[in-house]
Symmetry: C2
Subunit: 492 residues, 2 copies
């Protein structure tokens, strides 16, 4: 294969995709292992499904409906469209429907793996990321939502988040439905008004109470003078929605009491309240108080398939962003999706589940100093000074490994100086050197690279002091005592 300059292929990963080397790759795995161990301990069974599903099996539940052809990566098989999974929930629904007859019911499974989103890449926004999910399929009991929330809390603590450092925000989509029904927005005719009300609610953070109230009523003129038509609710109903979105979230009991006044007298609202009360009871029984799990009616979640309870995990620990302290923010979320399996079977199978964003937790560990840092075993590198003696060098590395030391022989073609530079770049602790002199004497020289680096800094350019320091950081030992000498150095 000969390659002329003009034939060269660009060496770059696709936009929005990232490589991870060494400690970063290991960090994701440590988190998945710790979270998976919690899920197993709570009785969830591990599942793996393929990265690829029939496009129709995944369905269209991503938030950005404006771009119907985007959101997922899709391609054509011989005869059918396939898509890369955008989450682990849609494939679970397919799996559960396919195997429902044979599965224990409820079916409790956990799963981890990458998911893909065909979104515009941006800073810190990747098109492949790892999720770690747990779901209970076949239970409509709010206890199963509460259990998942409590387990997700245990998972966060398992990766080093302190008990005071996170909170879960819990809501039910049925509550908002109940509010909308309570103000008379029922049926297909009210669809447009419902949408206007939901959009107004969504702007609370940005516009404040008065702005939202205007959008719920006749409409709102912004600073530029542009007028946005309102939902045209009457004053009483505007107040009802405002009461709803400004409800204090201090205690779960307080939210339930408040909602009982607001949500109104309809089946949907009552079902939502019953759901929240059930979740509250079990969370309390599991010792999860108002500090760790709040009811917050502003929580919506982006995925369309949710039908009831929705929940979000937020790290409340502060990080600095643009010079001011902000909460680290969401590290996962989930909710109840009672209709997803029915897409396949026609029969309603209630389900609920939670997804931890593994990359978010890696970032949290790094930025907040949580959890144990990756402890790489110290590395010994046997230098290769004579091409005819490669077998000897590799045999020395093998001896070291047999004694439990991580070890390798240098396999490049460069001289001693470059080899020590290589050892440095590999962050090696020890270099083993057997040049002609040592071979003649039947010895090896062992160099403590860490101590060497420290001492060479200390000694500056005083040649004599440097030579003296060097004597301390390297020892010569009989070849037969290689392993013992390296172990002594690593222990010292």
């Amino acid at each position: 294969m000969s390659t002329s300059k003009s034939d060269l292929v660009a060496a770059e990963q696709p936009r929005g995709f990232a490589d991870r080397l060494g400690a970063t790759a290991a960090a994701e795995e440590r988190i998945v292992n710790a979270v998976g161990a919690v899920y197993e301990q709570w009785g969830f069974e591990r599942l793996e499904t393929p990265a690829v599903e029939y496009t129709e099996a995944l369905g269209k539940f991503l938030p950005d409906l404006d771009r119907p052809n985007e959101g997922v990566f899709s391609f054509m098989d011989e005869e059918r469209w396939l898509s890369m999974r955008y989450d682990l929930t849609a494939p679970l629904a397919r799996f559960a429907a396919q195997n429902w007859k044979d599965l224990p019911k409820p079916f409790r499974r956990w799963q981890t793996g990458p998911v893909w989103r065909n979104e515009k890449p941006g800073p810190g926004r990747f098109r492949q990321f790892v999720q770690c999910d747990a779901d209970t399929v076949g239970s409509d009991n709010p206890a199963s939502d509460a259990e998942i929330i409590a387990m997700a809390a245990a998972a966060l603590e398992a990766v080093g988040v302190p008990r005071s450092g996170y909170t879960f925000k819990v809501n039910s989509r049925r509550i908002l439905n109940g509010v909308l029904l309570g103000i008379g927005l029922e049926g297909g005719n009210a669809e447009a008004t419902r949408l206007t009300v939901m959009r107004a609610i969504d702007k609370l953070d940005r516009l404040g109470v008065d702005g939202v109230a205007a959008l719920l009523g006749t409409g709102r003129k912004d600073e530029s003078g542009a007028f946005t038509e309102g939902a045209k609710l009457d004053a009483k109903n505007v107040q009802r929605v405002i009461d709803f979105v400004t409800l204090s979230t201090d205690t779960r009991a307080g939210v339930i009491a408040g909602l009982e006044r607001i949500v109104g007298d309809n089946d949907e609202g009552r079902a939502g309240l019953k759901e929240l009360a059930g979740i509250d009871a079990v969370l309390s029984a599991l010792g999860i108080g108002d500090d760790r799990a709040k009811f917050d009616t502003s929580v919506v979640r982006g995925l369309e398939y949710y039908t009831g309870a929705v929940y979000e995990a937020e790290l409340t620990l502060p990080i600095e962003e643009n010079g001011k302290a902000v909460r680290f923010g969401s590290v996962g979320g989930g909710g109840r999706y009672d209709d997803l399996v029915a897409r396949f079977t026609g029969e309603r199978v209630p389900a609920t589940g939670f997804s931890i964003g593994v990359s978010r937790l890696v970032a949290a560990q790094a930025r907040l100093g949580l959890g144990a840092a990756a402890q790489e075993a110290p590395l010994a590198i046997v230098l290769a000074l004579d091409g005819a003696r490669m077998g000897d060098y590799l045999a020395m590395a093998a001896e070291l490994r047999a004694s439990g030391v991580r070890a390798e022989a240098y396999l490049g073609g460069s001289g001693m100086k470059a080899q020590l530079k290589y050892a440095d770049k590999r962050n090696a602790r020890v270099a083993v050197i057997q040049g002609g002199d040592e071979v003649a004497k039947g010895t090896v020289t062992i160099k403590d690279l860490k101590a060497g680096a420290e001492m060479s800094q200390l000694a500056g350019d005083d040649r004599e002091a440097w030579n003296k320091a060097r004597e301390k950081v390297q020892v010569e030992a009989p070849r037969a005592e290689l392993v013992a000498a390296v172990q002594r150095m690593l222990a010292g």
Copy 2:
């Protein structure tokens, strides 16, 4: 979301893709962990690259050139073609080229993850499978090939393959090139003849020595009378190729001596011989004798990017297939690909690496009874007999987990009989029962499900014996002693 029967989506995974639940999923992970630990111990650094690469970065190196649009799954980004990786080597070449300046050289990395092949699915032939690779990039020293082979041997032993149960077959593509040059097949004009010779060699298993000799000479008529044109080599050269393909593989030294006679006096042949001699020397220094690594000139490997040494790991342990004992066969392979990085940089970067087929090893473990079986922790299930008391049941499960017992509460809506059936299906060891009686007495009943199943078999349909047996398999304990009682039962 309402779904009418006619709107139902088929619940099936795409053809050629598989789900894995519980022990099977765990088995793959155990193998990856064991193999990865060996790679780390040998000084290889973990890398993760995305599942998706620019199509041109992956190149076309899969064996089935007849189907240029198949082999990989590809799709269009906004502006460019992307493909799912078909192995972990092509992405490594892209990564190494992209980061060459900053990497330690040689660059030693290991990587695991799924790869995808857009092939016609067949029995036992999957379109997604997991590989576990190690590669050394930046060394043309045959010691690096030998090291990878020795490490792959250590990896096989780490997953339970006995030392007598595997062998590596090693060859160099340069040897065949040397043979072809030695019989005068040089340059573009000889391309067609070279191809005919290689196809003839490839048919040794099927046609035997005489058939191959005919194809190397004037040609061969098969049983149906159809005539295949031969390569038209003269008798001396036919004999030379036959000597080559029938070389005894008993000892590596023997193969080298034999090849010295056959391969001829050209640079390519000499380079191949030097390569094999270098590999032999290091394998011997590492204690890998002729039993564990053979030189076998019939080994070719399918991927097009190999330029020198190629190697294959074969499990020699017998399995039964169609009533007769056969070797389990290949579980991985690799080789030297000195030109792959140059596709990006224009500069030759020699590299070599090995890929273990993780699913193949899972199958080997299962069929050959190798390695430790998955040891699932015993599971305790708290039955839920009163919907109003879910918090109590979940709190009992939480207490058990806090003491280290894997535990859950039943979350479905069925009665006691169905709950015990569920516990059975989950393979639970213990059921915890607190009905109205127990609540009144402040106790819990703990049932040993395994002993129960055994005893109920023993007692047959003798009602009294059955009742007596039942007393032995369940105990009643004060609620406060739940954890101690369950632990006693699990220990007993």
